[in-house]
Symmetry: C2
Subunit: 265 residues, 2 copies
Amino acid sequence: MPARTIHSELHDRLEIALVSPRNPLNIGAVARAMANFGFSKLAVVAPYAPHWREARSAIGADELLQNAKVSATLAEAVASCTLVVGTGTLTHRKPEQPVVALPDLGPLVQRELAHGGRVAIVFGPEKHGLTREDLALCHLLVEIPTDRQQPSMNLGQAVAVCLYELASRAFSPAKKTHPLPTTPLTDTSAEHDPAAPSADLELLANVVEEAMVAANYSPASMRDANRHDLRLLLRRLAPTKADTRRILGLFRRILWRLNRPQAGN
Amino acid sequence: MPARTIHSELHDRLEIALVSPRNPLNIGAVARAMANFGFSKLAVVAPYAPHWREARSAIGADELLQNAKVSATLAEAVASCTLVVGTGTLTHRKPEQPVVALPDLGPLVQRELAHGGRVAIVFGPEKHGLTREDLALCHLLVEIPTDRQQPSMNLGQAVAVCLYELASRAFSPAKKTHPLPTTPLTDTSAEHDPAAPSADLELLANVVEEAMVAANYSPASMRDANRHDLRLLLRRLAPTKADTRRILGLFRRILWRLNRPQAGN
């Protein structure tokens, strides 16, 4: 079995997003694993070390590191993605999104890409993982089935394991070991309408939130909690692009009415 | 899906053998991945650095490192194993053993363990991988399906990927995603006789080799090649423990005859 070129056009629609990685060696290890499995889109969010691009262990992955996209927030990094998958150890908190075991992630990613979508797999900082705020941008969480005694993986190893799973079971058209799940993840009655990218959902969330404030929906002390729940809700609903545009239109209209200086009715 | 204890009695019958690892950080990373996936048996063969046990990145895996078995040769490290699986990039050489893609390894390992066997997964030094001599101790080779452009993985990442695959698909009794292969790997007509451990095969190989020399089977210049081919042959034949004992008895007898001082007959 000789080595093959496994990279395909599909691989370019999956990105790895690293939120505030601390150790440049880990960034290098991530880049190397990406190159091993044919992936090339790396997004680095608010990196800790200024010289992270010089990460030493990126054997054969220098170009990938040079082309990495940097942003200040995760929202920017995943703006164009239609399926955002968070990672992390779920030992200490109750997940607020659907959780999928890594061996079952392949078909979901495969389906999303087949429908023309873009996928991000998001990894948090080495020490404490993704914040609740970052997780609110995720449609679902993936769990690597590790041992309770030692659940927390090294960042470079966690990325390698995820990409191995996807490369062998979501990007390999020859073999489909998993049947497609019967309940589609982001399906709606409008079959041909693509899922809304993360940026559209953020825009919608912001307008809805403004409307909530303008409508005096809840006391100021509740705003952070509402903002969070709203983001989770939108991902769970997974509106299409057209849905999102429609709801946005509605809320803009509402907002305009709410902010209109009181005059008559 | 809360984290579970995935370690089981079966996990203790799979060992990871590292041949001449150079970088203690990599040994630490291997130990950590082993702990993540519930494995504990680490064998280190001819380590390069004397202080490798102090490997820093072995978060939560100190005990595992302290208990690691050290040996001078791979033959010693895998002596008790009935299925020895070599790893490495197969780009530069034509494999002499059967090659299995990692996604297909689970059922073979599962079967071997179910029959009471012991399995070793062997990783070579970081730079050049396993030697031809080491590979001759392997029953089969496993290939991680990487991209031709960048086939060579970091050691810690390669181990993590292999253990993830096995932990999720060979050690998880709840789900069997792969059917068992129809042609058994080391099966013989004697169903209940366990496979011969590596040490028995080595003993047999040595006696056969002595017999070859004593019989003047081939010129001295061919001995290394013969020795190598003999080892490969024995793994391919995969004799049971009883088979091995029987063949050994035969060759011991032959050898005794060959070495007997010439007298009469």
